[in-house]
Each structure stands twice: as C-alpha cells, then as structure tokens.
Amino acid sequence: MTPKTPIIHIIDDDDAARDSLAFLLKAAGFSTAEYRSASSFLANLPDLTAACVITDVRMPGQSGLELVVELKASHPGVPVIVMTGHGDVPLAVQAMKVGAVDFLEKPYDDVVIVRAVETALVGNADALAVHDEDGARDVKGRLETLTQRERQVLEKLVDGKPNKVTALELGISPRTVEIYRANVMSKMQAASVSDLVRMTILAERHR
C-alpha cells in the first residue's frame, strides 16, 4: 500500500512570496496548493489526511494566527507552520502556543523550510517528530549548560516579556539582562531571538 502523497498548502497574500515558496517546495519534491487568503483556504477546505499547512501571519482578513486556532479546533492533527516577514518574540511565542508546529522568519534558508515541512509531515498527528528527536535532545543538552540566571532570563523571554520587565522582575539591570540574553543565544546556538524561542518551545514539547 502506497501512502497518499502529502500536499503542502501555502497561504500567503503576497503573490511572489507564495509562488516562490511553491516553486521551492516543488523543486524539493513536494506537491503544493496555493491560497491567497485564510478564508479562501477554509472555504474550499481540501482533504487534509496527509497535509501540511504553511501560512503567513500578516494577511488582510483572517490572520495566520486566527487560522491556526480555527484549524486546530477542526483538524487537530494537521501540522501548521507559521511564517512572518517581521518576527518579533511575542508573535513567535503566540504562534507556538496556539499550536503551530514551527515558526519561521522570512527570509529563511531552503534547508530550514524543507526540513520543517518534512518534520511536520512525519510528526503529523503526534507532536513528537521521530527524526527530530535528535535535534530535540541536542537542544535539551544545550539547555542544561545554562546557568540558573540564564534559564530565568530565557523563561521570561519565551513568555514574551521585554528586557525591562524581565530586569524588574528578576531585580537586575536591563543591561545585565541583555548580557544574559546574549549568553543564552550563543549557548543555545540560536540564529535569532525567534529561533531561540522556537527551539525552546519545541524542546518543551518533546519533553
């Protein structure tokens, strides 16, 4: 029995961004479908038994995050990857918390998106991705190298708190928070703050 060919559903209001991603994924061997908006995707909802959804956050009408919430309610097993042109930490945290499997900041490397899609498809129903378990273990290993203070700063960061609030709550200066944050970034080998948030939240899920 051959498994059904998975289809990657791409939702982005920017024509070039959508078209280029479809092109990239096709070049990587996936089948794709494109939608201009969340509503046009939901209106003719396809068969989602073997599928992955990639959506932009900032779109006219229904936002990407609202789409995740709605999709998680009706099709909890379908993995959704959220991407954004301007990733800030609270947005990344929010996306992961409403149930996105991954959060990517544009522009992203082709290896990163292809791997994210593969992971999402393999993990599909279950949050635990089999071949990503190594990655999760790596992240957990790196998390263990953090000092207690660094861990606290990371927790506040993942909660989406600005440095100033973190400083106040931990009773240290904002400058010190910055230093801890930089340490955390380098110890966790995170490329960006949203990368760091993504890593941390994924590692928590695999716990």
């Binding site: 070039a16 991603l21 096709k26 990587a28 900032r58 301007h86 544009k106």
Partner: protein, 498 residues
C-alpha cells in the same frame, strides 16, 4: 433621664453610657442610706428627734450629678427612709409638715440640678465645637502649600506655619518672638521697620491686600523669590498682619522639569516613529527577499537535478524581478522619509548659536558656567531649517554643561568659522570629563549614553540625522582643553566670492 439629656442636647449626641447614667442614682441611694444610718446613730445616743434635714445633702449631691431624675429619686428615698424611721414612734403633725417641706425642697433642688447640668452640657458642647473648629482650621492652614505667618504691629512673629518652616528653613520654635526682618535680605530688612512705622502713623496701605513678588532670605543665607500676600487683623486693640508666602523658585523648577519632559517626549516620539518605520521596512523588504531566496534556492535544486537547463530559467527571471521590487520599496521609503521634512532657508548662524545656548542654560542648569563665543564674521548665513538646527546646538550645549557638572573649571566655548568656500563649522567645546575611547566610536549611534541611567542615548543620533539632512557632518574629538569638542558643518547660504 435619657429623655432629658436628649432635650438639652437637642438630640446632638452624647447618650451617656449606662454606667454613667446610673451612677447618680447609686450616689442617691448611698447618701440616703448614710443619712438614715446617721439618724439611727444619733437617735440612739441622744434623744434627737427625727429630722428631714439630714437627707438634704444626699438630694443636693444627686441632683447636681444626675439632674432631675436623680434628685427626685433621692428625695423619694429620703422621704421613705425618714417615714420608716418615724413610724414606730408615730407621726406627729410637724413631721408631716417637715415631710412636705422635704418633698418641695427636693423637687426644687432637682429642677435646679437639671438646669445646672443642662447649662454645663451646653457649655461643654460649645467648647468642644470651638476646639474642633480650631483643629480644623489649623489642619487647613498646615496643608496649604503657601507659608503663613502672623506678626504684630512691631513686626514680631506670632505664628509660623509648617509650610513656612519648609520654605525658610526656620522652625516655628526658633523664630517666634523674632522680628520678621530676619526673613528679608539686607536692603529690605532695614526698610521694613520704616514701613511698619509709617503705616502705624499714617494708616496708608501700601502692600496690604495686594500680592507682590519679593525676595526672601532662607535661614542658610540663600535668597529665593516669593509671592507675598498680606492681610490685616485688629483684635483687642492690637493690629496683626498675616502674610502668605508662595515659593516661586519651586514654580520655576516645575516649569523647567516640564520643559525637560517635553524635550524627552519629542525625542521618544521621533524614536518610536523610527521604530515603526524599521518594522514596516523589515516586513516590506522581507517579502521580496524571501521570494528571491526561494526562487534561487529552488532553481539550484533544479540545476542539481536531472534536466537542469530547461527549468531553471524561469526562477532566475522571477528572482531578478524580486530584487528590483526590493529596490523599489527602499526608494519609496526614502521618499516617504524626506518628503516635506525640512524647508531650508538662509539663517544667520550667530544669533542662532546664541539663542540655542541661552535656551539650553535656562533655569538653574549651567550655573557657574563661563560661556565664550568666537563667532566668525565670514560665516554669516547658513542654509538651514531653524528649529531642528536649534535642537542640535541645544543638545550639544546641554551635554557640554552636564559633562562639566563636577568640574572646577567650567568653560564653554562656542565657535563658528568658515571651512572651505561653502561650509560653516560650528564647534562646542567644554572643559568637562571627556570621553572614553570606546564610547567615542559609537557616540552617534542610538541608545549609546554616557549619562548612566539619565539619558536615553538618542540625542546625538538625532543630531547626526539632522545635520546630515542639512548636508553636513558631525563629529567629536579629544580636545586640547580636556573635554570633548563637538563640531558639525552646515552649508553656507551664499557662496563667498573666491
């Protein structure tokens, strides 16, 4: 009893607690019993006939302490006891008359007692009210932010409020009994006694009832401006003057603070506009950038595959289109930023420098700073938008003054000179603490500050933006005078003939 209390108090309040209400009755009983015992004792020793006289003290005491009810109760008790004592020997006619007299007298005393009590209650009430009012008035006077003082006709201080203590540094205890002239600096001090004398003799009012601004002397010898209002009061053949003083230096400080906040606000709003712009820019630019990356990376995957040439052409074309789109976005944003932002016109640079410097030193800031100007006659008019340029100079002067805050020698030099044919160089040099090498390198970047927690670190970055928008350049250098000379150039309005 309770009813009586109410009527005398007009239901105002104090219902005495039960213990206190009943006490007079207890006394009535006790004193009556004592009188009865005395009667018995006397009767057994001497052949004294029972007399009603002995019960009078009990009635009197009860009526005085408990009013009508207690007086009547004591009368009744006395009557009953006396009759009981007499009963064995039989009642005589005179006894009956005496008994009647006792009742009449008792009733009279009781009524008198009630009146006395009512009068006492009313007096206490009035007293209590007076004291309450006084406390109230005192609390009002103490919370008024203006200082208040009362002097008699010779100028001797009779009263000195808490606010006045704060303003002048004297405590009421120290200053009461001294003459008011201790609160005045020298020339006024001598004249004040003459004013008082003149008013006493002529009755001509000069300042009474009017407010005016005078200079006051603090206990520590410093002077400060106050607004003084005077009132007059005659009491018991004496004249008193009441003065209210409002510290104006505080108002000046508040105004200064307000101005500082306003400046900060302008900075912050500019900054947030910059932040918003950065967000928009990032979002707008990331779309074509990610599309480019997708097309190119996808194209490379195809080229690495089986049938390269045929399929790779399209993504290459599309990627190139996206790079042009990115360029277009940047151009649009630049137009947006510069559109209608500044209107350059010829401005005389000398007055502009002086004005901005004066503005920067408003208030207490820059006390003790010696300012020198070296304004070149060649550098007359620059092509500038006045307000932002003002802000640049103001910022530099303020920074310079702050840098010299703890320095002994406070020299500020503002200079203009012509550089080449068409540029004017403006420099602000101080004798302040100077700069660290690493900070100097990043000085004009946003959020770099040398002021600890005081500054936002955006002042100089804004200066840089403004100067560069004028087509000039801004810099800082380690100077021969120890501080950090800052300089910037700005185009000359009319080119000097070569």
């Amino acid at each position: 009893m309770e009813r009586l209390w109410r009527s005398t108090d007009e239901g105002r309040d104090p219902q005495p607690p039960w213990g206190r209400a009943l006490a007079p009755y207890g006394w009535a009983a006790l004193l009556t019993a004592a009188a009865t015992l005395t009667q018995i004792g006397l009767a057994s020793r001497l052949d004294v006939h029972i007399t009603f006289l002995l019960f009078l003290p009990a009635i009197l005491a009860s009526a005085r302490t408990g009013g009508l009810g207690a007086g009547l109760a004591a009368t009744a008790a006395g009557l009953v006891c006396a009759l009981a004592l007499m009963a064995p020997s039989g009642l005589r006619a005179e006894d009956v008359i005496a008994a009647g007299l006792l009742v009449a007298l008792g009733a009279f005393i009781a009524v008198g007692g009630r009146r006395a009590l009512a009068a006492q209650g009313a007096a206490e009430e009035v007293n209590r009210h007076l004291m309450e009012r006084e406390a109230h008035l005192k609390s009002i006077l103490e919370t008024v932010p203006d200082g208040m003082m009362v002097i008699d006709e010779r100028g001797v201080l009779q009263s000195f409020s808490q606010a006045a203590e704060l303003q002048f540094g004297w405590t009421a205890q120290e200053i009461l009994g001294k003459t008011i002239s201790v609160l005045m600096p020298m020339p006024d001090r001598r004249r004040h006694d003459q004013y008082l004398d003149a008013y006493a003799k002529t009755g001509v009012r000069r300042v009474i009832g009017l407010g005016r601004t005078v200079i006051a002397l603090h206990k520590d010898g410093s002077t400060f401006p106050v607004e003084l209002s005077l009132g007059e009061m005659r009491s018991g053949g004496h004249v008193f003057f009441t003065g209210f003083t409002r510290d104006l230096s505080q108002r000046v400080a508040v105004e200064e603070r307000l101005q500082a906040l306003q400046t900060e606000l302008i900075h912050v709003s500019r900054l947030s506009a910059m932040g918003e712009m950065a967000t928009t820019l990032a979002h707008e630019l990331n779309q074509p950038l990610s599309a480019m990356s997708n097309y190119l990376k996808g194209g490379r995957r195809l080229l690495e595959g089986e049938n390269p040439q045929s399929q790779a052409l399209e993504p290459m074309t599309k990627a190139a289109e996206q790079s042009l789109r990115a360029g277009e976005i940047i151009r649009r944003l630049r137009d947006f930023v510069t559109r209608g932002e500044s209107e350059l016109r010829p401005e005389p640079i000398g007055p502009l420098v002086r004005e901005a410097c004066a503005l920067a030193r408003v208030g207490s800031r820059g006390a003790g700073v010696k300012v020198r100007y070296a304004l070149s006659a060649d550098a007359e008019e620059v092509l500038a938008d006045k307000v932002p340029l003002h802000q640049v100079i103001l910022n530099l002067v303020r920074d310079a003054v702050e840098a010299m805050d703890r320095q002994g020698e406070k020299d500020l030099l503002l200079a203009t000179k012509l550089v080449g044919k068409d540029l004017v160089e403006v420099t602000v040099s101080d004798t302040g603490s100077g700069l660290q090498e690493d900070v100097a390198a990043r000085l004009f970047q946003p959020f770099v500050t040398t002021k600890g927690g005081q500054g936002m670190g955006v002042g100089l970055s804004i200066c840089k933006t403004i100067v560069e928008a004028h087509g000039g350049r801004i810099w800082a250098q380690a100077g021969p005078r120890g501080g950090t000379p800052f300089g910037f150039t700005i185009p000359l309005a009319r080119k000097v003939a070569a």
